[in-house]
């Protein structure tokens, strides 16, 4: 019995150290970036120096440039895209879940729609926006982001609607609600956590998207990732500014991720996978 317990303790210790190693590998880049964003310009080319007097020079420079405008653009694009996707996606997801509109084929159509490679859409979207004179506007990016956010949000919510018992809306309808009222007064509030997770996750995906944004925006209409991609040249001080830009872009997402994680698996399963 003693040797069994010893073996179990060794196994536990090994497991813990492997997980701890993975944990450090994940954390290290974040910490390094954070550190670099406060590093004096003269020390940026010396990776071995980790003790220095922190400076706010990079932060001041980035926040004093056009960067906050790009940040604002990303917020606008994300919020508008997510709102449209929820308004169109939630009722549709409910219909797919309750009435099996279009059957399995419609459900899987929604799944496939998320998988369409952006390269096949960018050519027509670019030409379309060019002809509509919408290139370099936020409308162009919003339209492009809807191509994957719409099916994603719909797919995400199907799984949540599937779990709402039918009695709820039936009771509401017996009490005199129309079906539409039963949907938005009774069913929607029940899956509020699912809707919140879908909205946050969709916002994060829009916030992170760079391929469409790179080709459809420019100048004042740049989104955050496009602005970050602009720090491509590695000349001296640029690295400090790049670190600031990345820290600003990822901190909100990291915070949001803790809220999303709990609901992500059910959402990604879309009612097809029962975990």
């Amino acid at each position: 019995m003693g040797s069994y317990r010893l073996r179990a303790q060794v196994a536990q210790g090994l497991a813990l150290s492997v997980v701890l190693l993975a944990f450090l590998i994940v954390l290290f880049p974040y910490l390094w970036l954070f550190l670099t964003s406060f590093k004096p310009p003269a020390l940026l080319s010396r990776p071995e120096v980790v003790r220095f007097t922190p400076t706010l020079v990079h932060w001041r420079e980035v926040l004093g440039s056009d960067f906050p405008r790009y940040l604002g653009n990303s917020v606008i694009v994300g919020v508008v895209t997510v709102l449209i996707a929820l308004l169109a996606g939630a009722p549709a997801a409910y219909a797919f879940s309750r009435f099996r509109v279009g059957g399995d084929r419609a459900r899987f159509g929604v799944l496939i729609a998320q998988m369409v490679p952006p390269t096949v859409l960018i050519v027509p979207l670019f030409l379309l926006m060019y002809h509509l004179r919408l290139l370099d506007t936020l409308i162009a990016v919003i339209a492009a982001h809807l191509t994957f956010i719409l099916p994603l949000v719909t797919w995400f919510l199907i799984g949540f609607f599937d779990e709402v018992p039918r009695d709820l809306e039936e009771q509401a309808m017996v009490d005199g609600c129309t079906h539409w009222q039963a949907f938005y007064r009774v069913v929607v509030p029940v899956i509020r956590p699912g809707i919140a997770a879908a909205a946050l996750f969709a916002f994060v995906l829009s916030w992170n998207e760079v391929f469409f944004a790179l080709l459809l925006t420019g100048g004042d209409s740049k989104t955050l990732p496009v602005a970050i991609a602009g720090y491509w040249t590695f000349r001296g001080i640029e690295m400090g500014k790049m670190s600031v830009a990345i820290v600003v872009a990822i901190v909100p997402v990291l915070v949001a991720s803790f809220f999303i994680q709990r609901h992500l698996v059910k959402g990604l399963g879309g009612g097809a996978v029962k975990f």
């Binding site: 813990l16 944990f23 219909a95 050519v123 990345i246 996978v273």
Partner: protein
């Protein structure tokens, strides 16, 4: 239940009753989504296919000629296209296998009762939420031969200098970056899968004296098969679209060692403006995507039953 649904047709928006637009309630719920998807997805897909059948160059828009399958036929002899395809396949296979092995290993470890388990899990999952362009730049900076901390540490420990983005290693470095960012996705799905497994087979096996490895091999793996397949296919679909790391770090180089298909299409379409050719290449990618998705749907269906 179905009776109640039928009896509710006398309410103003009963689902059996056609509205003034001739759509019943369920279809009215779907209509806005359908309309938007046709506008932003179906129409561009058809337009793109039309472009792929034409000699369509952005700088010569008044001279667009129908070439039938000409763009597709030329791909067969287009060496650049095949180099990009080979790079992409190498990338997808290496990255997804590593992500699966690491993700499954970590999922098994995190399935145990470890101290601070929830903290570890939450932090380990974070990389998948970050914008890939930032991940690319972050590692470009960490791995930079002169300015990066990692080459510095390797230099001071072994005395050797490694050029992470040189001709030999560049593609593999991109693979490692993808592994850093996307192993969490595997971990997320596989851990959820492990947590949903029934307990009885494991308890029975333990009573029969099975070892840990035997249980993983004969119980965990067979039970997890559909989830594992789904996780791998979803990751493959995503990995085929790799673009950001290449854009952020190597821009296809050195030479064409990291020229992946998505980046190649971007260059042909938006640097050389040969949109017909780019659209044809993109459609070959759609074909691969479609095949993988069909396998995925088949897997998910089997799982749902």
């Amino acid at each position: 239940m179905s009776e109640l649904y039928r009896s509710s047709t006398n309410t103003s928006s009963g689902e059996g009753q056609a509205s003034r637009w001739g759509l019943s309630f369920p279809y009215r719920l779907v209509a806005p989504l359908a309309f938007l998807l046709i506008a932003v997805l179906i129409y561009p897909l058809l337009f793109s296919f039309w472009v792929s059948l034409h000699d369509y160059t952005l700088t010569r828009l008044n001279d667009v000629r129908f070439v039938g399958i000409g763009n597709y036929a030329r791909l067969l002899r287009n060496a650049d296209y095949w180099v990009a395809m080979r790079n992409t396949l190498t990338f997808v296979i290496l990255a997804v296998s590593l992500e699966f092995l690491l993700g499954f290993g970590l999922a098994l470890l995190l399935h145990r009762a470890l101290p601070f388990r929830d903290v570890f899990r939450s932090v380990l999952l974070t990389p998948m939420f970050i914008t890939p362009i930032a991940v690319g730049l972050m590692f470009r900076f960490l791995l930079n031969s002169q300015l990066g901390i990692i080459p510095y540490l390797i230099r001071s420990l072994t005395g050797r200098s490694v050029d992470w983005f040189g001709p030999e290693l560049a593609l593999y470095s991109i693979v490692l970056i993808d592994v850093w960012q996307w192993t969490p996705f595997m971990l997320l799905l596989l851990l959820a899968g492990l947590e949903s497994l029934p307990r009885e087979p494991f308890e029975a096996a333990r009573v029969d004296g099975a070892s840990g490895w035997q249980m993983i091999r004969h119980i965990t793996l067979p039970l997890m098969r559909p989830i594992i397949l789904a996780a791998i296919i979803i990751r493959m679909l995503d990995a085929f679209k790799v673009f950001e790391y290449v854009y952020a770090i190597t821009r296809g180089g050195p030479g064409s060692r990291t020229e992946v298909i998505q980046y190649h299409i971007y260059r042909v379409g938006f640097r050389f403006f040969r949109m017909g050719e780019a659209a044809a290449m993109a459609y070959t990618l759609v074909l691969i995507t479609l095949l993988l998705t069909i396998v995925l749907v088949y897997t998910l269906r089997k799982e749902a039953r």
